[in-house]
């Protein structure tokens, strides 16, 4: 009888052990699965945080050797990998292309010559207008427009110094200065290239208006959003009488025809 009692205990123990082992196995498996899932969530969370911390800015853009020449600076504290450069040419139908860049930029470092090695030729003198986008492996992007000033009207202003000129019947005539100011008033990231003015035109009620050399400078290669450039000319006015006036206008080459600045000079 003693030995039979022992047998039932052994059988009970066997079942108890099986139940315990199964439960422990299931709990361990569940914990492992949850741990793996947790690791994935943590990794995704870190990826999202890194996405937000990635930060790079446009430092300069020009057209060099008929190719884009973009410089960006990594202002964040994570290295970035610029994978592609998207270029949409608004002047050509359905012209959206991308070019592989695949370059790493360390935190605080500057990456130059982006666009110099891609097979896309750009004529800075043309009226081309481009939308450029740089994309990173984390999915962030830097987008800006670049092109001719002839796409949208710009803010322009003309200043004549001095505003009133003393009449003179003979030489030496009085010199004066024309300051032609052009502002890129675009609210989006819109970079204008090849800013070059036409020679100012004048209409006088009397006397002689003679434009000197200029403009100074002859051109600005780029004009970023919110920036202003100033062109300067010298002119002389003579052989007029008091009460005459000159109406002077200036505009940009490749600009919109109706977009110009004007000023009137009075002769005293």
């Amino acid at each position: 009888m003693r030995s039979r009692k022992g047998l039932s205990t052994v059988v009970g123990m066997v079942f108890a052990l099986i139940a315990l082992a199964t439960s422990i196995g299931y709990i361990t498996y569940s914990m492992n699965i949850l741990d793996q899932y947790n690791q994935v969530v943590i990794a995704k969370n870190q990826q999202t945080i890194d996405n937000g911390r990635e930060n790079f800015q446009l430092y300069a853009t020009t057209i060099k050797n008929n190719r884009f020449n973009v410089t960006v600076i990594n202002t964040g504290n994570l290295p970035i990998n610029i994978t592609r450069m998207w270029v949409q040419n608004y002047s050509v139908a359905d012209s959206v292309n991308y070019y592989t860049i695949n370059s790493l930029v360390s935190p605080g470092a500057t990456m130059i010559n982006i666009g110099q090695s891609i097979p896309l030729s750009v004529n800075p003198a043309s009226n081309g207008y481009y939308n450029i986008k740089l994309v990173t492996t984390r999915g962030n992007s830097l987008q800006f427009n670049m092109g001719s000033p002839g796409t949208k009207p710009l803010y322009m202003q003309m200043i004549i110094n001095p505003p009133q000129i003393t009449s003179s019947s003979g030489p030496p005539y009085q010199n004066a200065t024309i300051l032609y100011q052009v502002t890129n008033n675009s609210t989006s990231n819109n970079l204008l290239t090849n800013i070059q003015p036409n020679q100012p035109s004048s209409t006088c009620t009397g006397g002689t208006f003679t434009l000197g050399n200029g403009p100074v400078p002859a051109q600005y290669p780029t004009l970023p959003s919110g920036s202003t450039v100033i062109f300067k000319w010298y002119f002389t006015y003579g052989a007029g009488v008091s009460g005459n006036k000159c109406y002077i206008t200036a505009s940009l080459k490749n600009g919109i025809a109706s977009n110009f600045a004007y000023e009137t000079v009075f002769i005293k």
Partner: protein, 156 residues
């Protein structure tokens, strides 16, 4: 006679014990098998849910570029459309099943657009989509695993 009685009493006890042990063994085995089967089912279910959720979380689709085309401008199709380029920057493949524009009736469903890691896919509206300059456009991309990727772009 005494020996016979003793022997018969022992036999019934042995039989009863054997029956009890058999019953316990059968019941115990059944219980263990049933619980094992249930636990296997739970394990499989847990593994499936975990795997599908993990894969969904690991999907990394980037709406890399959105181009706008005007019918009367530089558009080849003769109507307004949006050109969306998607890139899979993740390490698992995915299927694009739906593109929805602006919470509107412009929902485009796909049956099979697989996108391997590192690959991209470009899509244009085949019918007119009336986008307006300066107005933001919301884009929703749904994948086969149910992940939704969104972005907002302003039409030029």
């Amino acid at each position: 006679m005494k020996y016979m009685m003793h022997a018969q009493r022992g036999l019934s006890t042995v039989v009863a014990t054997a029956l009890m042990l058999s019953a316990v063994a059968v019941l115990g085995t059944t219980l263990v098998l049933w619980s094992n089967s249930n636990l296997r089912g739970y394990e499989t279910s847990l593994a499936t849910i975990s795997s599908s959720n993990t894969n969904r979380i690991n999907e990394f689709l980037v709406i890399e570029n959105v181009g706008f085309c005007k019918a009367n401008g530089n558009c080849l199709k003769g109507h307004n459309y949006i050109n969306i380029t998607l890139a899979n920057y993740g390490n698992i493949g995915l299927n694009v099943t739906q593109i929805k524009l602006n919470d509107s009736g412009y929902v485009y469903t796909f049956t099979n657009v697989p996108l391997s890691p590192g690959k991209e896919y470009s899509w244009k509206n085949s019918t007119n989509y009336p986008w307006s300059s300066g107005k933001p456009q919301k884009i929703f991309i749904t994948t086969g695993r149910g992940a939704i990727f969104t972005t907002q772009v302003t039409a030029p």
